[in-house]
Each structure stands twice: as C-alpha cells, then as structure tokens.
Amino acid sequence: MSHINSQKFDRELKKGGAELLVLSLLEARPRHGYEVRKLIETRSDGVLKFNAASLYPLLYRLEKRGWIEGKWVEKAGQRRRRYYKLTKDGKKVLSAQRSIWQSFVAAINRVTGLEGA
C-alpha cells in the first residue's frame, strides 16, 4: 500500500481525521511534536506522514481551541521541550470524533462492500 500523498492528506486534515489522530495520541500521556509525528508514522506503518509544516499548524489550532494544552517542560540534563496534553474539552471532542469516525468508516465499508472482508 502506497502512502497517501501529503497534499491529499492536507485536505483530509481539514475534515478532522488528522485532529482525531493527534488527539488520540495525546490521550494516553503528554507528548512533544516530534514524538507525535513519529508515532503516527510508525503506527500507520508509514502510510500516514506529517511534516513539521503540517503538524504544527494543527497542534497550534487544537491548542487555541482549548482541546490540547502545550507546556514547556524542563528535565534535568535536557533542553526544555514543549509537551502537549489533552484537556478536558479535548477529551470530550475526542470521544465525539471517534464515534463519528467509526460510523463514517463503517458506512464506507458497507457501501464499498468491504465489511467483514
């Protein structure tokens, strides 16, 4: 399977899929930007790829909406890094988007006959 090119992906971004990805990854624990990018890439087996120019606008937007919260964290012997954490609102949005996404996928599956395949 070839990976979806980034221009198309950008468009998907607007439809909320990317938001869902980021929010899901932050659900377990706070992460910094590069970590998010790596996780998306590895967990999707390289199908989904972000670069800095597409990831950061998304992070900033989510932060502005109050769904995630960025914080500079300094650990001993390391440079300070900015970690993003899911907020209360973000959790609500995540669960809503998840169910929308699930029904969307299920619908696509039903239409395309992929269900149970």
Partner: protein
C-alpha cells in the same frame, strides 16, 4: 548540528508574531528539526542528505504561516502582557471591546440606525413619562421633611363622605392631646378683594395657622413668615405674597416689605415674599394671611372647614401617627356623641394625598410606556439575533481560537450596550421635546392646580433614569442573542455553516420574541383603543350645557360690604340687567359655580320621610342660580318651571332639581311639588326639573343636583355667565366668544365685552373687583386636558408599538425566507407553485400572529381593568374595541408577511439549490 533558526525565521517572516511567541515557535520547531536530523544521521544518512531531508520538513510552510497568522491574530496581546494587574487586562479588554463593538456597528449603518432609533423611541418615551412622574408624583414638592408630613381628614360614616375637612374644636383637641405630632397647621382657601390699585382686584389666597410655613419647613425669599401668636386678633394683619403676585402687582419691588395693602378693606403689612417655586396649597391662591380662631368657633364640632397638615415628631412612623389620630378620634366619639358619633379621623401621606389626582393617570401611562420599551427591546433583540446568525461563523472562529464564552458574551453585550447608550442619548433628545409637548398639553389655567407641574422638565433624576434605562435595555436586548451565540457548539457551526440545531433554536427564540411583541402591542392597542373610545364618548356626550358662545366672570364682594342679603341681591340683579342690555348679549345668568360641575356638596332630606341622622342624609350638588342662568348656560327645563322674578326673598322657598335627583329619589317623576329640607334646616318646594349636566371630572352626567334661587340665597360671591347672540348681527361677537382660544382677534372682542361689563359694574360700585373672563369652552378644555393628554399619549404609544411589532414581524419573516431559500428552491424544483410557497410563508407568519393575538387578548383582559377608573361610557372589557383592535393588528401584521412571502415566490430554484 546545523542552526535551523534562520531557516524557520525566513519562513515565518511575514507572519505578524509577538516577539516572545515567535521565539517560542522557532525554538520548538528547531528542536523538532534537531530530532529529525539526528534520527536521519542515526539511520545512516550523510550530513548533506540529512540536512536536505530535514529542511523538507518545512515544505509547504505557507500552510504553517497561514495557520499561524490566523491563530495568533487575537491571542497575541494576551501573551505579551507580562506581570500586569488583572484589572488592567480587564480595562484593556473593555477598551478593545468598545473599539471593536463600535467598528462592528459602524460597519452596518442600516442595522445600527434602526436599532438606535427603536431604542431611542422606547427610552425617550420612558424618560418623558418618568420626568412627568418625577415632577408630579415623586417630588412635586421639595419640603425638607416631607416624609414626616401627613394630611388629616375626617370620614363621615354613613354619608359616603370620605375626605371631609376637620372641625376647629377637633383641631384644638389634637393640639392639646397629641404626643406623636410636633405641630399641626391648617389652611382655608378664601377670596379677597385687593383695593388701592387702578381697579379693585379679585384674588384668591389662604388663611393659614401661624405654624403653616414652619410645618412645611419653607423659607421666604424676602422678609419673614408668620411668628407664633400672629394668628390672634389684633396681630393678624400681616401678609406673605406669592412670587407671581409680587411680580404681577408690585413689579417684583424689593422694597415691598413693610408696605401695606388693602384686602377686603382691611390693611395688611407685607412681611414676606415666597420663592418662585412655592405654590402650596394648590388651589390657585396668591397670598397667605394668618387664620384666626375666634373664641366662638373654638368649640365648633360641626363645621368641617379646616384642611389640616400634621408634622410628625422626628423618628415617629406614619403608622404611629395614624394610630394616635384614630385613638383621639375614638375618644371624641365617646366624649361628644352628638357631633362626633359618626366621625372618624385618619391620615394620608402628604405626597400621596397631594398627588392622588395625577396618580390615577400616571400609573397606567407608566405601564404603557414600559410596554413600549419592552417591545423596542424585543425588536432590537430580534435584530441582534438575526445579525448573530450572520456572525455565527465569526464568533465560532473566535471561540475556536480560544476566546472563552464569557469573553464573547462580554463582547456582544458591549455592542448591545453601545446601541442602548446611543439610543439613550438620542432618546434624551426625544424626551426634551416630549416633555415640552407635555407641558403645553395642559393649559396654564389648569396646570396650577397640579402639584409639581410647574417643575416639569428634564433634570438630574431624568438623566439618571435614562442612564439606568439604557443600561438595562442594553443588557435586556443583548443577553439573549449573546447567550444564543455562545451556547451553540461552534464545532458544528464551523462544519455546517450555521444551519445546525443552534440556528433552529435561534429561530424559535426569534419567533417567541415576535409573539411577545405582538401580544404586548395588542394589550397596548386595546388599552389605547378603550381610552380613545372613552374620550370620543366624552366629546360626544351631551354635556347638559352649551360651552360655545358663552363666557363667565367671577365677582366676590369684599367682607364687610353688602352685609344685608337684599343689598347683595339688588346689586346682582342690577348688574345682570345692565349686562343684558349690552349689544350682542343674548342671555345673562348668575351662579355660584360655572359648569362643568361647579356645585358644592350638600345634603338634604325629603320632607315627609323618616328623618335620617345629619351625617346619613342623601348627598347632592348644590348650585345657587338666578332665573336667567339656565338660558345663559344652555341647560334645558324638563318639567315644571324655572325660577322667575317672583321667587324673591319673601316668596315661598323653591328649588329646582336635575333629572338624576328626580329619578333617584322620586322614581315616578312625581318630584314636582315635593319638598326638600336643605342643610340650613328650611324646607324648599321643588318647582321644576332641569336636564343633567356633566360633573367637573367629566366622568358622570348623572350626579344629583339641587338648584337654589339666588334671590332667596344671595351669596357673597357670584359668577356672571354671558351668552352671545347667535343671530347674523351678533355673529362677529359669537365667533369671537367661541374662538377665543385660537383666534387672537376673537380674544380682542371678548376683551371688549369684558371691558364693557367691567364698566357697568364700576358704574354700580367702583370698588368691586371682577376676575378676568373665561369662555365656557376654555374651562371645559382645561378640565378635559388631562384626559386629552392621556388619550394622545396612549395613542402615540400604541402606534409606536404597532409599528415596532410590524417591523419586527417583517424582519423575522424576511430572515426566515432568506434562510430557507434552499428549502424553498427545492420545494419549487419538486413542483410547488408560487401560490403554494406564498401560502406556506404567510401561514407561518399567521401562526406567530395568531399566537401573539391570543396571548395579547388574555393580557388585555387582565390588564385593562386598571383603566376602568378613567374610562367613561366604555367598559374595560368592551368586546367591540377588542375585536376591532385585534383585527387591525392582524391586518397590519399580515401585511408585514406579504412582502417576504412574495419574495419567497421569486426564488429561482436553480440559484437556490446552488446557494450552498
């Protein structure tokens, strides 16, 4: 490790970022690139390869720049404010809100103009009415300890006389026995003849106890007021002048103090002049002299003649004062059963008593004007909701960008407050005009009897009220739209462009507001309709006299002159004959009072029926008239005969009664020949029945009235009623009399006639004063002016309400149609005819109107009862008025739906469907 920062900065160059924010972003991104680079190197890439691949991470950075530009626009100021106090942030927010709000309003001048004018009308109307209320009800007087003042009256049980004045002996009891009152003052209205000038002058004034000015706590402008003891014989010849009299007769001479004037042939020394605004009591008097309690009167418990004002001691409540007066009254009932058995004293708050005439009218005018403001608020709230819908996307973006809902509500409220404030300023302008129009609505001749009317104007109170009203209005009409705008899920809004559940809720609110507007206007319209119908009825009611082409002058004989009744009668008789001989005069009558009303209250007993106790006798009006009076005022004879010259002092005593009295007490019209025992204890035979006449309050034509013959009771004062001839020769004069109010040349003719009459009187006795003339029409206009003002006010308010409700409905329907263009287009594409669409839209409007009218009818039914006290000839639940007004509103409101409905039929399905 390469330094990424210059590369990143280059790409963010045209994003306006706050320096601190930019540094943070650059740092974060550069760390990301570091991670990326290290990993690539770790994966075996050479430095150059790794560098290029890492830079590729920034490919498409215009997206980054764009997103940042959008995201940072609003947030920036909050980020760079360091260590500032929370309050300064709030202030800077407020300033930002104000500037932003003003910009938003300026962007939509049409919307802003309509909203501001609507609010200005509502607020202006309220300020106008509030100013009137402030002057005539809240602060008609500015006496220093007003809250301690009470008026004291006596109720004569069983006679229906609720506000009888107090007897001299009772007042003396109170002065001796009261512990709760500091002092009691009393006033008696009286007429005086001022001599010594060019011609004798007829003046009204008051005899007051020495405590009078002290009780009110007022200071004179010049000189002093009465001292204790100056209300005793020998010291009482001092006078305090009203400002207007001082100006009119003494040219505001500052050296007036110490000069003497002659009142009723007695010499009085002027000791003081009151300030311009002092006008109390409100009966048109222009001077105050001491009231002397003669020893003979000190024991009098039957002559209810004193108007008593009590001043409570500091700290004593009105309830305690009231309790004491009641207790004293009970004691008197036991001590003096013969005179006081059925007498019960009570107190009324000073302001409450003095303003009770105005209160009746103002209470519901205030209600009406508040309705107008509510409708204005509903209208503006509606406009804001509509605009809120258009701005939904803007607000959603702002909230998505992190503006809290509180912040957005504040912004929206700031905007509605700005609107209301602008409305308030404009409204204040309207009310300046409104108050002027009001002040002119009541003729001078009547205004002097309304306490506080002379103070009517826009003052600090009105300013404060306007400010508060504007504030409340701003919040009232902004809260719902603001709450609506932030209550919805902005995520939905961003996705579906504002057509989700939120817009549905908003439409429901808008519809509810319109229903409320329609209902409120209907209540107002019905109220106005009732008052207008009632006023028209008054105008069309047979007054029982003919106010056109007749005028009256007043003559009071000085005390100590014409002491013998026959002297007085001869003087009157001679005067009437002389005036009747003047050219153009058709009829001359003499009377104790001029219609409307004009009678004093009296009681009587029917001879031959069981005697009722003096306080339980039937009451009636009493008027003393000459034979010519009925022709002069135009009151018709119904049965029997009028007075004639044979009904002299020594002839059998006779009276006439009006139809109302005859009907009530002699049901089969057998009144003629019956005899009545009047107050002075003498029997009079009823010789004739005359038509009813309108009473002074213009709300009853059927008060029982007894007419006595002037020949048999020649009073010390009399009014001369002169009717002009209405034949061709005397037309000029007749017109002059009829048009005296509007036609200056007519006024001149009246003045000529007045002069002629004065000359006739002077020929008889040059020392006798006669008042200025007034046409009966003028008197009637003065008396009807409060009702006229109220009718006009309610009419204006109702019209405003109707227009606002119609505009509101139009706006809602237009908006609904615009919003549903897509749906309508679809319906048409699916085969709906223009007619169906039209019907569909109108039906929608009709549902709102119907609901509003239903609620309005219920509301009107509940509220208009308050009006019943001022209605005449119409009941508060008059079905015709309800039906006609509801129909009027229905038609007007339907018209407001027709244009949007027609517009809906013009929707092109193709365009409508592409509309998304």
């Amino acid at each position: 490790m390469p330094d990424w920062k210059p590369e990143i900065r280059k790409r963010l160059a045209d994003v306006p970022l706050a320096p601190l924010r930019e540094r943070a972003i650059v740092e974060e991104l550069s760390q990301y690139l570091d991670d990326c680079y290290e990993e690539l190197l770790g994966g075996g890439a050479v430095a150059k390869e790794a560098y290029e691949q890492t830079l590729a991470e920034l490919r498409g950075s215009e997206l980054l720049a764009r997103e940042l530009r959008r995201a940072e626009r609003r947030g920036a100021p909050e980020l760079i404010v360091f260590g500032t106090h929370r309050r300064t942030i709030m202030l800077s927010d407020l300033w930002q809100d104000l500037r932003f709000g003003a910009r938003m309003l300026a962007k939509q001048p049409g919307f802003t103009l309509i909203a501001v004018i609507t609010l200005a009308l509502g607020i202006g109307a309220n300020t106008t009415i509030f100013s009137m209320m402030e002057s005539v009800i809240l602060h008609p007087f500015s006496f220093p300890h007003q809250e301690r003042l009470v008026m004291i009256y006596e109720r004569l049980l069983g006679t229906g006389r609720e506000r009888s004045l107090v007897t001299p002996a009772t007042l003396r009891d109170w002065r001796e026995q009261s512990r709760e009152f500091e002092q009691f003052a009393t006033t008696i209205f009286d007429d005086f003849t001022l001599t010594g000038g060019e011609r004798p002058e007829q003046l009204s004034g008051y005899r007051v106890s020495a405590e009078f000015f002290g009780t009110l706590g007022v200071q004179p402008l010049l000189g002093r007021t009465f001292q204790p003891g100056e209300d005793s014989l020998g010291r009482e010849q001092v006078v305090v002048l009203k400002h207007s009299l001082w100006e009119r007769l003494f040219a505001a001479d500052p050296k007036i103090l110490g000069q003497t004037i002659k009142l009723d042939s007695k010499t009085y020394t002027v000791i003081g002049v009151m300030p311009r605004e002092f006008n109390f009591p409100h009966f048109g008097g222009e001077l105050w002299i001491p009231w002397v309690l003669l020893p003979a009167d000190a024991q009098n418990r039957e002559n209810h003649s004193l108007r008593v004002i009590g001043l409570l001691k500091p700290g004593v409540s009105r309830a305690r004062g009231e309790a004491e007066i009641r207790a004293l009254s009970l004691r008197a009932q036991q001590q003096y059963p013969a005179t006081n058995r059925d007498v019960e004293a009570y107190t009324v708050g000073f302001n409450e008593d003095q303003t009770r005439g105005s209160r009746t009218y103002l209470s519901f005018t205030l209600g009406a004007v508040m309705f107008v403001l509510l409708i204005a608020c509903a209208n503006v709230a509606n406009l804001l909701l509509a605009r809120g819908a258009a701005r939904q996307k803007e607000l959603a973006v702002r909230m998505a960008l992190g503006a809290g809902s509180g912040r957005v509500i504040r912004q929206l409220l700031t905007e509605s407050l700005l609107l209301a404030l602008a409305g308030g300023v404009l409204g204040l302008g309207f009310s300046v005009w409104g108050v002027m129009a009001l002040a002119n609505g009541i003729p001078q001749g009547f205004a002097k009897f309304i306490p506080g009317w002379e103070r009517l104007g826009i003052n600090a109170w009105a300013f404060g009220f306007t400010a508060l009203a504007s504030l409340a209005t701003g919040i009232l009409c902004g809260l719902l739209p603001a709450w609506q705008a932030t209550g919805s899920d902005f995520n939905d809004t961003l996705k579906d462009g504002g057509k989700g559940a939120a817009s549905g809720a908003r439409n429901r609110w808008r519809s509810a507001l319109v229903v409320a507007e329609v209902a409120l206007s209907l209540v107002l319209l019905i109220g106005a309709g009732l008052v207008i119908r009632s006023f028209v009825k008054i105008l069309n009611t047979e007054l029982g006299f003919n106010p056109d082409n007749a005028m009256a002058m007043y003559l009071a004989l000085p005390q100590g002159r014409y002491v013998q009744p026959h002297e007085r009668f001869n003087l009157y008789h001679e005067l009437a004959q002389r005036v009747a001989a003047l050219p153009g005069v058709a009829a001359v009558g003499l009377t104790s009072g001029v219609p409307p009303g004009g009678w004093v209250r009296g009681s009587f007993q029917i001879v031959g029926q069981p005697t009722a106790s003096p306080t339980r006798q039937p009451a009636s009006g009493v008027l003393v008239t000459s034979p010519g009076y009925f022709a002069a005022v135009g009151t018709p004879l119904r049965a029997g005969r009028l007075f004639n010259d044979r009904d002299g002092a020594n002839a059998p005593r006779v009276v006439l009664v009006n139809e109302a009295l005859a009907r009530r007490y002699f049901p089969d019209l057998s009144a003629i020949g019956q005899r009545l025992m009047l107050d002075e204890g003498l029997p009079y035979e009823i010789v004739g029945i005359v038509g009813n006449t309108m009473n002074v309050d213009l709300d009853d034509v059927a008060e029982p009235v007894i007419y006595q013959s002037l020949a048999q009771r020649p009073l010390q004062y009399v009014s001369l009623v002169v009717r002009g001839q209405s034949n061709a020769l005397a037309n000029a004069l007749a017109n002059a009399l009829a048009n005296a109010l509007t036609d200056p040349s007519g006024k001149e003719s009246v003045t000529q006639l007045t002069g002629a009459i004065r000359r006739e009187l002077a020929a008889l006795d040059a020392a006798l004063p006669m008042s200025e003339s007034k046409t009966l029409r003028e008197g009637y206009r003065e008396r009807s002016s409060p009702k006229r003002v109220i009718t006009v006010l309610l009419g204006i308010f109702a019209l405003l309400a109707l227009v606002m409700a119609t505009v509101g409905l139009y706006a809602v329907m237009s908006f609904a149609v615009a919003q549903r263009t897509h749906e309508l287009g679809l319906r048409m594409a699916l085969g709906a005819q223009a007619r169906d669409i039209f019907r569909f839209v109108v039906k929608q409007g009709l549902r709102l109107i119907g609901l509003g009218i239903g609620l309005g009818l219920l509301g009107a039914y509940a509220v208009t009862r308050l009006l019943s006290r001022v209605l005449y000839g119409v009941t508060a639940t008059d079905a015709l008025t309800y039906a006609v007004v509801a129909a009027l509103l229905l038609v007007t409101a339907l018209t407001a739906c027709v244009v949007p409905a027609w517009r809906a039929t013009q929707v092109d399905p193709l365009i409508a469907l592409r509309h998304e």
